[in-house]
Symmetry: C2
Subunit: 362 residues, 2 copies
């Protein structure tokens, strides 16, 4: 970059001094399940508007799944990546320059690392190690993997700050519903004092069906049949998924330093039909509620009034924020979905890009 | 300002080069009803955090109501302004340097003009002329007055752009609930294709009471008694207030160029008990719905399913946004309230301040 000399003028638009080099946004995608594939499709569909509206030209230089790597330093053909994944079930058969698994995160030059491997709430791996490698090699990180954040939130944020890069994770809470953005950006000048939410769609669906009269196991089978519950649904049923989201929100929104172990957690497998009937008499329904305020951090099934804005049915998620001056606000949306969650990755990407533009003179 | 020399360094934080002069935020407050007074109280309560968190030191240099002006070029004593207003019912008795009503908007040096006079949906006055004067004299404008925007949205935005200042109006829709901010800032990279909302708390309260079995006139009297409806409630009842908000949202969020006359509008005074009973059989309630999509721009009472996230009771407001990739999101909150609306003015003030910091080198 040439040195630039800022003159004594009243209105100088800073963006004039930002060099074109920041247009470069090389991305490594690690994990190519439903969300990863949806993200590639979303990029294919919105590349024109991304450049027009935000000046972003994303270039996917590597896609990695558990069996293979697709790599091209000049940018992958995303159609070809998607076709390979569809035809072979993995990237093993991808035809192109070879790249070794070991150290690829550190070795590749890229601006953004996408961590989309499955959530593991015991060890947070492989996501945790991937994110640490990416941050250490000064890559911005976007993840939809709750494990690393639920177990090591503060140290990851510190690592990102230390390396002068961003760590973003909008898709970990609310899927495509911008719950974290709402809390961070829409209430400036105010202070959120507490929040209460329904953060897990699977258990909300099961409890909705139980309120219709189905016993727990039939409601669970119905959820499995509809694809709302995994074959092993314990992450949802036991409240771990909701607790992980609660931890992420408590850290990010309230500035707490808590992990999964700090959550007082009760799942829904002991909810009895008689509890549901008792609630119904008071015009309430049992919901798996996650709550965070000064004295409480819990996930438990409790009765909620049908007049409460967070009373939502089916697979919907809802969160009510309470703030000092602007009252209570509730945000409701689908908590999952491939394309919806992919849209949250795109939002993070745009935020990272805008931050790069503001803070860097290249 | 001294000239500054930017060296050939990769990470230079631009804010370092922004001079202190932008800290100056002189404000004229025009209209000192419930919202205006709440705003002054909010400033008194949050001055420390405003400076700490956002670098803002607001200085109210003039407060104007229909009978008098309080003026001090070095910043008014807000406690004294509030006491005068409380004791005399107006600012007529304010003891301080005198200022003439005529041309004070143009003549005073200030960064921000707050337009808080009552909404007039016929002529938009006096708000419209006030806003035009302020924009022409290169002042940023914040208003919670729906009239000028419902009748002249596009030309006011153009005037602001031409004069290189901002026009903000978060409090016109949703009171303290950040409906406009949500739509503008939380769905980046996506495109809102339509929205549906309950935008008027008074009519929602009346329809809620009617669903409880009260006839229209008794429900209206109840709303008046509780302070939810004005003595002359026609702005609410006839759907004008909801239509004005719909117009503001359609222009700002969807980029339409529409005014009040473009809204297909039906009020609630002809809603019959039999309509309500018929809806109840289908587990629905009649709500005054505002809708905007490609082919429709209407406000009318229609039956809404109790399972729909925008189904809210009492004085609550709710809006569902539909977008291309991230699905449907609903935001619910109190649509009015002095302190809540004041908090929206504070948000606008912070946004204006942040914009000044980004674009100016003084």
């Amino acid at each position: 970059m040439n040195n630039c000399y800022i003159q004594n003028t009243n209105f100088i638009i800073i963006s004039t001094y930002i060099n074109k080099k920041t247009n470069l946004m090389r991305i490594i995608v690690c994990g190519l399940g439903v969300v990863g594939q949806s993200f590639l499709k979303l990029l294919l569909a919105s590349s024109t508007s991304l450049y027009k509206d935000y000046g972003i030209k994303p270039r996917i230089i590597a896609c990695v799944d558990s069996k293979g790597i697709a790599y091209s330093p000049t940018g992958l053909d995303l159609e070809k990546v998607l076709t390979t994944k569809q035809n072979f079930g993995s990237l093993k058969g991808f035809d192109g320059p070879k790249l070794d698994y070991v150290n690829y995160i550190e070795d590749l030059d890229a601006e953004v690392f996408l961590e989309l491997t499955p959530t593991n709430l015991q060890t947070a791996e492989p996501g945790l190690s991937n994110i640490i490698s990416a941050l250490r090699s000064k890559k911005n990180v976007i993840t939809v993997n709750k494990g690393p954040l639920a177990l090591s939130f503060s140290s990851l944020i510190e690592l990102a700050d230390y390396n002068n890069v961003m760590l973003r994770f909008s898709g970990t809470v609310g899927g495509g519903t911008p719950v974290l953005e709402f809390a961070k950006h829409c209430l400036k000048g105010d202070k959120i004092t507490s929040f209460t939410g329904i953060l897990n769609g699977t258990t909300n669906y099961i409890l909705t069906r139980m309120a219709d009269g189905l016993p727990f196991h039939e409601a669970l089978d119905d959820a499995k049949q509809k694809g709302y519950a995994e074959a092993n649904p314990s992450l949802d049923i036991d409240g771990d998924d909701a607790a992980a989201k609660l931890v992420i929100m408590a850290n990010w929104i309230m500035g707490y330093k808590v992990t999964l172990r700090d959550v007082d957690k009760v799942g829904i497998s002991n909810v009895k039909q008689e509890d549901i009937n008792k609630a119904a008499i008071e015009k309430k329904s049992i919901k798996l509620i996650a709550k965070c305020d000064k004295n409480e951090l819990f996930v438990k099934p409790i009765p909620i009034s049908k007049d409460d804005p967070i009373y939502v049915n089916g697979t919907l998620n809802a969160v009510t924020f309470r703030s000092e001056h602007s009252g209570e606000q509730t945000i409701i949306g689908k908590g999952a979905g491939g394309m919806e969650t992919a849209s949250s990755i795109l939002r993070d990407l745009i935020e990272i890009r805008q931050n790069m533009t503001t803070y860097e003179l290249v």
